[in-house]
């Protein structure tokens, strides 16, 4: 009846069902070891409702049910209505068969349906999109009692600009969603960038639109001028609403000033999105939320903002400001760098909102800086590679001096928090170095000690600019500490290398000495040989002379 994939042709008169070859252990009339181990409950005799026979019935029924129509995907709900037993257990059997391909092997996969039913994703996240539901979910109702005098004000979400004017409210007023509307359709548009679409000509109304006051019909300016009002509508019924800057910056483009505003508002108001949206004038509530989530540290802020413990606001503002200036920062000299530092502070002064900087917050903030993620540090690094080392050193000193000269707070806060730099990258000994660096440059801080004592107790009230400065001071301090660390490393490396060199030289000398020793030995031996040879020769000569004398050679002719 069923054929494993590699054996398709044996019994052509039966129906052919394919199962994967890794399931070829399956037999109708037997229960395989795989099944026994996967579904132990049926085979341990623990209950009268779970026996092998019962398991076999479940299994056979499910497979047969699937094979009635192999192209359609069998769902669990379809089988469980026909089987007696605990649904969780049945589901287990179903899943086992599904995983082994004994059912639903040739069926259409379920992924072609709408995205938000993928079981591996949560209910509120669609791949990279975040659904933001406006107002309370409908299951949680805030309802006016029939006789109450108090009107219920229900937050109105933005209209779906596709011309149907679906408005979702939590409550009894307003138009309900038509049935079978997926939340993605309604709220997805709020997250994505979408301007208003003209009801009559179908184009996007970017600059302004005319809203029909008696309903929710929208037409663009062109149509209004041309008189295409749509059916049964007259000119007077339309109201002009300028989308102007709104639609252009609707959702997608956030300038740095807005981002800064957003961050500061979130710091102050935490989760209260109404106030945040008010403070950021050109963005709606949803835009704020989605932008915040998109920012890399956004979730930190959302989670802890209301405890006034958020970490990265100033860094974030630094980042956003820096990104704007990055294009213009090529080929800088030290003066320009100092200007940058000043510019930052000026800009943040202009924004002028209060942010929080508790010591634990600074601890968190240091981490991204030390990781080199901050573009400020990148800036510095970039600049320093372009100019000589002396220039960079001078620039750094000047910047630190400028900071410390302007305010006593950075130093005070520096002094107060010894442990904030200990984030694993820097050893505690390095902490003293930036402080020392600052102390060297800020010797006139002594007289401000008393002030700073008071100031430290009112940290929450310190205005933003000082905090920004503290932030930059901290950043520079971290950079200085890092630099010191690197310098020390370099020193050690140099020492190490020098030691190696010396050692090598010594070895060379040693081997030379050895060589000469050997040579000497050899020479001596040779010398000895030579001496011996000489003696031999002398002896031979004597011999020859003797013989010559013996044989009567009268005169020795030499």
């Amino acid at each position: 009846m069923e054929m494993p994939q590699y054996d398709p042709n044996t019994k052509p008169e039966f129906e052919l069902y394919t199962i994967p070859s890794h399931s070829s252990w399956f037999r109708w009339d037997d229960i395989h070891e795989t099944e026994r181990t996967a579904l132990k409950e049926f085979f341990d005799g623990s209950s009268i409702s779970r026996t092998p026979k019962i398991y076999k019935e479940y299994r056979d029924f499910m497979i047969n049910k699937y094979r009635e129509e192999p192209s359609r995907r069998l769902t669990f709900t379809q089988v469980r209505k026909s089987l007696v037993g605990d649904v969780s257990l049945l589901h287990k059997v179903f899943r086992l068969l599904d995983e082994w391909g004994l059912i639903n092997f040739g069926a259409v996969s379920r992924g072609d349906d709408s995205d938000n039913r993928d079981s591996s994703l949560g209910d509120t996240e669609l791949k990279n999109q975040v659904k933001i539901e406006e107002g309370a979910p409908n299951g949680v109702r805030v309802v006016a009692l029939p006789n109450s005098l108090k009107p219920i004000s229900v937050p109105n979400s933005g209209a779906d600009g596709s011309g149907n004017g679906k408005v979702v409210v939590a409550g009894e007023t307003g138009v309900k969603l038509p049935p079978l509307t997926s939340y993605l359709d309604v709220f997805g548009d709020l997250v994505k960038l979408k301007g208003f679409k003209c009801g009559s000509c179908g184009e996007q109304c970017n600059s302004g639109c005319y809203e029909y006051s008696k309903g929710s019909f929208v037409i663009c300016e062109k149509c209004f001028k041309n008189g295409n009002y749509g059916e049964d509508k007259s000119k007077d019924d339309f109201r002009f609403s300028d989308l102007g800057g709104n639609s252009l910056t609707h959702g997608a483009t956030w300038t740095e000033a807005e981002t800064l505003l957003l961050l500061e508002s979130v710091m102050r108001h935490g989760d209260n999105w109404e106030l945040v949206a008010q403070n950021v004038p050109t963005k709606s509530k949803l835009d704020c939320i989605s932008k915040l989530i998109e920012l890399p540290f956004g979730e930190f802020m959302m989670g802890s903002a209301h405890e006034m413990n958020s970490s990265s606001c100033p860094t974030g503002s630094l980042n956003s400001l820096k990104e704007g200036q990055s294009a213009s920062s090529e080929n800088q000299n030290d003066v320009k760098m100092e200007d940058q530092v000043h510019d930052q502070m000026n800009e943040s002064e202009q924004n002028g909102d209060a942010a929080t900087e508790e010591p634990p917050a600074k601890r968190k903030r240091i981490a991204p800086l030390s990781d080199g993620g901050s573009s400020l540090i990148k800036q510095v690094a970039h600049i320093s590679t372009m100019v000589g080392p002396h220039v960079t050193a001078a620039a750094a000193e000047a910047a630190v001096a400028a900071l410390c000269n302007e305010s006593s707070y950075p130093r005070e806060i520096f002094d107060g928090d010894e442990d904030y730099l200990a984030n694993g990258l820097l050893s505690p000994t390095m902490v003293s170095d930036p402080e020392r660096a600052l102390q060297v440059d800020a010797s006139k801080m002594e007289e401000n000690q008393s002030e700073t004592q008071d100031a430290s107790s009112e940290k929450n009230d310190v205005p933003l600019n000082l905090r920004i400065r503290t932030a930059t001071a901290t950043a520079l301090g971290a950079a200085a500490a890092n630099a010191k660390l690197l310098a020390d490393q370099e020193d050690r490396e140099i020492e190490h290398l020098v030691a190696i060199i010396i050692e090598t030289q010594m070895k060379k000398l040693h081997s030379k000495i050895n060589y000469f020793d050997d040579l000497e030995l050899i020479m001596e031996k040779e010398y000895n040989e030579m001496m011996q040879l000489k003696e031999c020769l002398v002896e031979e000569r004597i011999d020859v002379l003797e013989r010559a004398l013996k044989t009567g050679v009268s005169k020795w002719r030499s």
């Binding site: 026979k53 019962i54 026909s82 109702r141 108090k150």
Partner: protein, 227 residues
């Protein structure tokens, strides 16, 4: 020992609070091992998110706390733990979706997961409203909770009456009301676990999408009933 007979020991909490002309209804699951300080935090956040008047905070917190305490009062006690397959009936309306269903659940299966069941259910039935799943899981949990409470009560009675074990089993299956299915009858050797076709409709889920008017009518009727 008493606990929810599911993999996660979560308590179903239902809220229905009326103050100052506003009525707040909600249903969710709570983890009883969370510290009680979380209750107030949750109440505050809910009130803020829904923009309710602040009187709700104490009421919400109190209601949750009461239900939690009630759950915890059962916790030390023994529960009858023999196998019991009970029918669970679903009959609920979530926004525009009406669900009626009937299936069996094994009380003794401590790894059962109502949320997983709800997920499969919504996937199979093609339900797009994301609030349906949790509502289904909640309904299941509520019923399991009630049955668990009943089994505590019956366990207590057994102890009091001091019957032998065999007698206890017998008493349980008769005392469980119509709830527990007679396992002997169902899973007998010569009977099949496959239902007769004519019975399939009983256990088949029915999912209805209602129109706005029907929803309004049903809501009005529900309100009248609860007052």
């Amino acid at each position: 020992k008493f606990r929810m007979p599911t993999e996660d020991n979560l308590v179903p909490i239902r809220l229905d609070i009326e103050t100052e002309g506003q009525r707040y209804k909600d249903a969710f699951t709570w983890n009883p091992s969370d510290p009680d300080s979380e209750v107030v935090v949750f109440a505050k956040r809910t009130v803020r998110d829904l923009k309710l008047p602040p009187q709700f905070i104490t009421q919400i917190a109190q209601s949750i706390q009461t239900q939690l305490t009630e759950f915890r009062s059962y916790e030390g006690q023994d529960m009858y733990t023999a196998e019991k397959i009970v029918p669970i009936k679903l009959d609920l309306r979530v926004n525009h979706t009406l669900i009626k269903d009937h299936f069996l659940w094994d009380l003794n299966n401590y790894e059962s997961d109502p949320e997983e069941f709800a997920r499969t259910f919504c996937n199979d039935m093609g339900i797009e409203d994301p609030e349906v799943g949790p509502a289904v899981a909640f309904a299941i949990r509520e019923q399991l909770y009630e049955i668990a409470i009943q089994s505590v009560a019956s366990a207590r009675e057994i102890k009091i009456s001091k019957k032998g074990r065999r007698g206890a089993e017998h008493a349980i299956s008769s005392k469980g009301g119509g709830n527990a299915l007679d396992l002997m009858k169902l899973f007998r050797y010569n009977s099949s676990v496959v239902r007769k076709r004519k019975e399939w409709y009983v256990y088949e889920p029915i999912v209805d999408i209602l129109s706005n008017e029907e929803v309004d009518a049903l809501e009005a009727r529900e309100d009248r009933n609860t007052r």
